[in-house]
């Protein structure tokens, strides 16, 4: 990217009232090295570096964006089986009036510590015996500030506590003796009183698995928990909430300990079972209603709300579980292998009798983010990474705001050779979806990661500010923004 062009672009955009923001320069000539997104970081720490900043980050975004993702995917010539198995590395992007810095650090899990020491994958062998879920914990999925600590979240075991300044690992988050080492999803949901809901699935416990439900305070105390039998040992990665209900959509991806089949095995997919929705009463976590949907698979949800005798929820809906069964090589090759992306869809779930329904939008979308000021209520704006229709591009560099109520789509294309990651919404005004969008992207041609800020109501104008790191980070999953 040409710095002058960019700076001029920013100036012009500001002067012209954001008619056109800074855009990456003309199409790059070199072929993108997509493998950059899955390249291991081989040091424990990525020391702080200054980013080159074009434009100006608004005051509302002065603070830290933390992101988590698999930072190490191979050791001693061996590669992890699935992208989700990489060791978690937390990246911190600090935005201040004097600039943008980045530093990163691996979560020092039991697994990471010991395999670093041994120099190879050894978990579960006599050399590195593994007990309980946390032995396998990579803490690689998301981050959340709780009680002054940054939690590195996984889903099949504990969250790890980190120092939000130094990113040093302090240990696991042990909520209580009984709730030590239990499955705890990476997608807690905020309740309006400031507390959080979460869930966890233990498909190997009980008869057909146990579902755990949690409510914890923002200062890090467990307020309430419950465990319930699962109807079958299916899979869910995140969940949704309405005002009165928690909604867990259980895909027919069935863990079978007897046959040694886990959720990562292709034979776990049993579409004949259909997808099951567990609707939990927030006022009494033991009251669960079971509803049926056609077979499908969901990682992430958008808005969800009560609509009379039914619930409605937006989700990024896959027709099957193929994403769980891809190798890292397949991830790198990306699309063009006949695997359709998730589509933003509305799930309709009757509270009374009857089957649920799926209404698919035409938009291929992932990493949905909504305005947090309308939890559990009907909302319109979904900020997503959008699969472009251009099938010649194996990875998408497009982000979009999809207004499901009003039908509008506003998008920004980072250009070919770039992979867009999750973009977070930071409110600034009273309207739903009024604020800033802050997110990262990986330029696989020039070999660097960028942090960009957009006016969330005018994505098509391009970023109002763009920070370019002198390094390329492996792709991550989810983040959180902390003001100040």
């Amino acid at each position: 990217m040409d710095r002058r062009t960019l700076l001029q672009g920013v100036g012009a955009a500001l002067l012209a009232g954001c008619a056109s923001g800074p855009r990456p320069a003309a199409a790059p000539s070199a072929a993108p090295d997509w493998a950059l997104g899955w390249r291991s970081v081989t040091t424990d720490v990525l020391a702080p570096v200054e980013a080159r900043v074009d434009g100006r980050f608004p005051d509302a975004l002065h603070g830290t964006l933390y992101r988590n993702g698999p930072g190490r995917l191979e050791r001693a010539g061996q590669r992890v089986r699935h992208w989700f198995d990489g060791d978690g590395m937390v990246q911190a992007f600090r935005v201040s009036p004097s600039g943008v810095t980045h530093h990163g650090r691996f979560v020092s899990t039991f697994k990471f510590q010991n395999e670093e020491r041994l120099g190879r994958y050894a978990l579960g062998t006599a050399e590195l015996p593994a007990r309980g879920n946390d032995a396998y914990n990579t803490a690689n999925t998301s981050v959340l500030m709780v009680g002054g600590e940054l939690l590195a979240l996984w889903e099949a075991g504990s969250a790890y506590r980190m120092d939000p300044e130094t990113l040093e690992t302090r240990g696991t988050k042990d909520w209580s003796p009984e709730l030590t080492g239990v499955p705890f999803s990476a997608h807690p949901l905020p309740e309006r009183d400031g507390s959080y809901w979460n869930f966890g699935l233990a498909p190997y416990a009980g008869e057909h698995g146990l579902m755990l439900l949690y409510r914890f305070s923002a200062d890090g105390r467990m307020l309430q928990s419950a465990h319930l039998p699962m109807p079958f040992s299916g899979y869910a990665h995140a969940f949704a909430q309405t005002e009165r209900h928690l909604v867990v959509v259980l895909a027919p991806l069935v863990w079978d300990r007897e046959r040694d089949v886990t959720w990562f095995d292709a034979e776990a997919w049993q579409p004949a079972l259909g997808t099951t929705v567990l609707v939990v009463d927030k006022a009494d976590l033991t009251r669960v209603v079971r509803r049926e949907l056609p077979a499908g698979f969901v990682f992430h949800f958008g808005h969800a709300w009560e609509d009379g005798d039914r619930l409605r929820a937006y989700a990024c809906w896959y027709e099957d579980s193929h994403f769980m069964h891809l190798s890292v090589d397949q991830d790198i090759r990306g699309r063009g292998k006949g695997l359709p992306p998730a589509r933003l869809a509305q799930l309709e779930i009757p509270l009374g009798a009857g089957e649920g329904r799926i209404t698919r939008s035409p938009h291929g979308a992932e990493f949905p983010v909504v305005d947090p000021r309308v939890p559990g209520r009907r909302g319109s704006a979904h900020f997503v990474t959008l699969e472009s229709e251009d099938t010649a591009r194996p990875h998408s560099g497009v982000i979009a705001r999809i207004d499901v109520e009003r039908g509008g789509v506003r998008r920004f294309d980072y250009g070919p050779g770039v992979i867009a990651e999750e973009h977070l919404f930071v409110p600034s005004g009273p309207r739903e979806g009024q604020g800033w969008l802050l997110g990262t992207s990986l330029d696989c041609v020039r070999g660097h990661t960028r942090l960009a800020a957009f006016d969330a109501e005018h994505l098509e104008d391009g970023p109002v500010a763009l920070a370019t790191l002198p390094r390329a980070l492996p792709l991550g999953f989810h983040g959180t923004f902390l003001k100040g």
Partner: protein, 135 residues
């Protein structure tokens, strides 16, 4: 007469006796006791019968060796756990995942309790030494 009887019993015991030696490794805390049970059948292995032998050995190092003499040669399975806080039970979390070390013969059970058959081994007439790694 009494002495003779004792001698006969001793002879009988010697005729059948084999010694099981357990080299137990990977104890993560130097506290409490390792509680060991030797089973001859699945019922015993699944806590529904009486083990043929039990031992409680104090833990002062990350490994220890236990000898269990006077066992008839044949098929057995060993289960053990490290009661690091000496409360006489294997502490678990709410979904039943152990929070203290445990192990089985053949070093099976990394992802949950194995069946008796999986942990079964044959104790030879000359004795057998097993290396058990504590999960």
């Amino acid at each position: 007469m009494k002495l003779l009887l004792a001698a006969v019993l001793l002879l009988a015991a010697n005729a059948h006796a084999a010694t099981l030696t357990l080299d137990i490794q990977g104890l993560s805390k130097k506290s409490g006791h390792v509680l060991i049970a030797v089973h001859t059948n699945a019922a015993s292995f699944n806590d529904k019968g009486k083990p043929v032998a039990v031992r409680s050995v104090e833990v002062t190092d990350s490994k220890l060796t236990v000898t269990i003499p006077d066992l008839a040669p044949g098929d057995y399975a060993v289960s053990l756990f490290h009661d690091a806080n000496d409360n006489n039970k294997l502490d678990t979390n709410i979904i039943g995942i152990p929070k203290e070390g445990y192990g089985f013969s053949n070093n099976v059970g990394a992802r949950g309790k194995p069946r008796f058959d999986e942990a079964k081994f044959t104790l030879g007439a000359d004795g057998t030494t097993l290396t058990l790694v504590v999960f």
